[in-house]
């Protein structure tokens, strides 16, 4: 087993690169920063891979189950005798798997950006932010304490904010960054209160102790289920609130509105953060607390329904979007919905844990092909200088590598065997089938729609229009992109990650996840039912063929379809007006009816009262000061009158 100090290096290499670049490198060796960042992540990846090998094949398994290991724990902040934030490292199947996913995708993105971001003014800053993000994400997956995960959760949020707002001179990027941060912050409020509830009843913040206390028949479990608020137990409240936090980060309906806007960031960032790593943090969080969730079916039902509805809604919206990155964003949301409801259909232990395993499996495969899709889209955008489908078409000859790897990714996400997505999706569908037939129906419908919109995207980029409009693109941009005037593909640094991820998208489906990552650590026997797979694959193929018919050549059919389904089309095109609802609530209700009155009240009532005190004093003083006229004779008259008064008093009343 690797030493603890080497495991610590996994998250620390990227943060060291962040510090080096932002404090020294940005000024002194800006062009070397990219290589520095890439090397640091390469180091993390190699270490992670070693840890994964060691964990899964050498030391992780004790008896027949993988154990949780906590090689490091530092008391960071002691709240009360047993309640403390400990910074620690926890290794178990999901955290080790996430280590590999995060470092691998991050490495690919670092490498890819060497070419993609070349010549950017803030190239070094970009790499320092990437380092910060990678650090935060690694810290998140390694957390051994629920507050630690919350801390890194926030750090991930802020690095995402910085990266979305990378082009800070673009107002749309700034507002997208702000939106992403605020929406997830709002969700984190739920997470925070959930933590408070769970930790109060379990008397600890440590994951292992908490899970133990809230799953065994302990006093803590009894009090938390006995305590109820508004008809639900404290346990359910706590878990649902924690899930709200997860749903915010994972862009689940109705907290998903930030994800499409987040595409304002540079495309490699979208691949890293908004496809493969950060957005699955919510899934990871639910998986981390899964034993506790399993004891509260109501909470898992909520997870399931939120997951499946997000999945379906996002798929429908993705069908009509024209910005290729937004299509991918909605597809991400849809796939994460898949992972979520898969968790919702599972229960802790044994056969019931199929959905858990499937969800983690899908998380893994999805990271590969979705990163590939985004990087491929990045290559296309790099060449076309536009995000809009209408500016693309017929690029297959110009960009053969991109075209081929993109096709692989599309097949993978559509669930066509033998690509990776097929295997994980099959497991999810099986779990759904056993748990709830309605969920299964919706899931399989979503699968078909997924195939359709992905191939709509594929055909629109690489086929559709007969001629590659290379000329027009170059007219518009002139010498700026002279370096790729003769070929469509970017430099080798951009192609190699595509190829690697393309190979992985084929290969990772064959990893025996059922023996490695399961809810209770024990191997899970799964059978492969050929008959069960037929329906989903057929439906997916059907989706592909519809897309082929609609979009392979330019045709009027899609427009006619859109016209005939005009209400649905418009709803989907406008993302079901969810953004508008939020805007209405904030801009039309919260600001004018809470913020402005508060400010008005403060200026006029509270402050007015103070000013009134002052002015009353001033008035009284104005009345009294008239007596001090400065006229000596008046003073003398008062004096004399006073003396006479005293005389009278002494003579007549005193005696």
């Amino acid at each position: 087993m690797l030493g603890t100090s080497l495991i610590i290096l996994i998250p620390f290499l990227p943060i060291i690169s962040f510090l080096l670049i932002s404090l020294v490198g940005r000024k002194n060796f800006p062009s070397f920063c990219g290589v520095l960042g890439t090397l640091s992540v390469l180091g993390s990846f190699v270490l992670s891979a070693t840890v994964a090998y060691d964990y899964f094949f050498v030391v992780g398994k004790v008896g027949d189950a993988y154990q949780q290991m906590v090689p490091l724990k530092i008391n960071w902040l002691q709240f009360a005798p047993n309640v403390s934030i400990d910074l620690g490292i926890m290794l178990d199947p999901i955290s080790v798997m996430m280590l590999v996913v995060v470092t691998l995708v991050s490495l690919m993105v670092h490498f890819y950006s060497l070419g993609y971001m070349k010549g950017e003014e803030r190239y070094a800053t970009f790499y320092s932010y990437l380092g910060l993000f990678t650090f935060s994400m690694l810290g998140l997956v390694l957390s051994s304490n629920i507050f630690q995960i919350y801390m890194f959760w926030e750090l991930v949020g802020v690095s995402s904010y910085l990266l979305i707002g990378y082009y800070f001179e673009k107002p749309s990027a700034v507002s997208a960054a702000k939106k992403a941060f605020i929406v997830t912050r709002f969700a984190d409020l739920g997470f925070l209160i959930g933590i408070l509830i769970l930790s109060y009843y379990s008397g600890t913040l440590d994951f292992q102790t908490m899970i133990q206390r809230l799953t065994m028949q302990t006093n803590e479990l009894h009090t938390i289920t006995a305590a109820s608020f508004m008809g639900a137990s404290a346990l359910a409240w706590g878990l649902v609130l924690v899930f709200i936090g997860g749903a915010g980060k994972s862009a689940m309906f109705p907290l998903h509105i930030w994800l499409p806007d987040a595409m304002e960031g540079p495309t490699p960032v979208s691949a890293l953060i908004h496809a493969a790593t950060m957005v699955v943090a919510g899934v990871f969080l639910v998986a981390r607390l899964f034993p506790v969730f399993s004891g509260c079916p109501a909470a898992l039902d909520i997870v399931m329904w939120v997951g499946v509805s997000s999945s379906l809604i996002a798929a429908i919206i993705a069908c009509t979007q024209t910005d290729i990155k937004r299509v991918l964003a909605y597809s991400t949301m849809s796939q994460i919905g898949y992972m979520m409801f898969s968790l919702g259909t599972a229960r802790y232990g044994g056969e019931n844990g199929l959905g858990y395993m499937a969800s983690m499996f899908h998380l893994f495969t999805h990271a590969m092909f979705k990163a590939l899709l985004f990087l491929g889209a990045g290559s296309v955008i790099h060449y076309v200088h536009s995000n809009e489908m209408k500016d693309m078409g017929g690029l297959r000859k110009l960009m053969p590598v991109t075209h081929f790897t993109f096709l692989i990714a599309c097949l993978a996400i559509a669930g066509i065997p033998p690509f990776a997505g097929f295997f994980s999706k099959e497991e999810i569908l099986q779990s759904a089938y056993h748990a709830n037939k309605v969920i299964f129906g919706l899931a399989i419908l979503t699968a078909a729609i997924t195939a359709f919109y992905m191939f709509r995207l594929y055909f629109n980029i690489f086929w559709n229009k007969p001629l590659p409009h290379k000329e027009s693109a170059h007219d518009a941009h002139g010498a700026a992109d002279a370096h790729d005037a003769h070929h469509g593909e970017g430099p080798a640094t951009m192609l190699i990650p595509l190829v690697i991820l393309g190979l992985l998208s084929v290969a990772v489906g064959f990893i025996p996840f059922n023996r490695l990552v399961t809810s209770d650590g024990k191997a899970l026997a799964t059978e492969f039912h050929m008959t069960f797979s037929i329906a989903p694959v057929l439906l997916a193929t059907l989706g592909i063929f519809i897309a082929l018919a609609f979009y392979k050549k330019e045709s009027a059919v899609p427009q006619k379809m859109a016209d005939s389904l005009s209400a649905l089309y418009r709803g989907s095109y406008n993302k079901f007006y969810i953004d508008e609802i939020y805007l209405f609530v904030t801009k039309k209700i919260l600001f004018p009816f809470v913020g402005r009155p508060a400010a008005w009240f403060d200026r006029n009532v509270v402050d007015g009262f103070m000013n009134m005190l002052a002015s009353v004093t001033a008035h009284i003083s104005a009345l009294i000061k008239g007596l001090q006229s400065g006229k000596v004779q008046q003073y003398a008259a008062y004096f004399f009158a006073g003396a006479v008064g005293f005389v009278l008093i002494f003579i007549y009343w005193w005696t």
Partner: protein, 104 residues
């Protein structure tokens, strides 16, 4: 009956006092006001002397007080006239109505 008694002295001093007060409160000229103040002081002097003479003929306390007051009145007159002259230099007037800038 023909003797001049304490009552006559008190009557004179009382009259002087009120004439002084009246002058002090009504006249606008600072010099005249100063003179009124002198009248008031002198009325007090008469009182002291008269009470001494009629009530404690074997003591001299009243006379001493009177001497003190006369001295102080002289000093006071000197200071007051100095102030008045300064006022006149600044305001070109010794009207009391115009010397009210020291209010508040």
């Amino acid at each position: 009956m023909n003797d001049i008694g304490l009552f006559h002295f008190l009557f004179i001093s009382c009259a002087l006092f009120f004439i002084g007060v009246f002058g002090f409160l009504t006249r606008r000229n600072l010099i005249t006001m100063l003179m009124s103040v002198e009248l008031i002081l002198n009325s007090v002097n008469i009182n002291l002397v008269a009470f001494n003479k009629f009530l404690f003929p074997d003591k001299l306390d009243g006379l001493f007080f009177t001497l003190f007051i006369i001295t102080i009145a002289a000093a006071e007159a000197a200071v007051a006239i100095a102030i008045i002259i300064n006022l006149y230099r600044n305001y070109k007037s010794i009207d009391v109505e115009q010397t009210d800038t020291m209010k508040y």
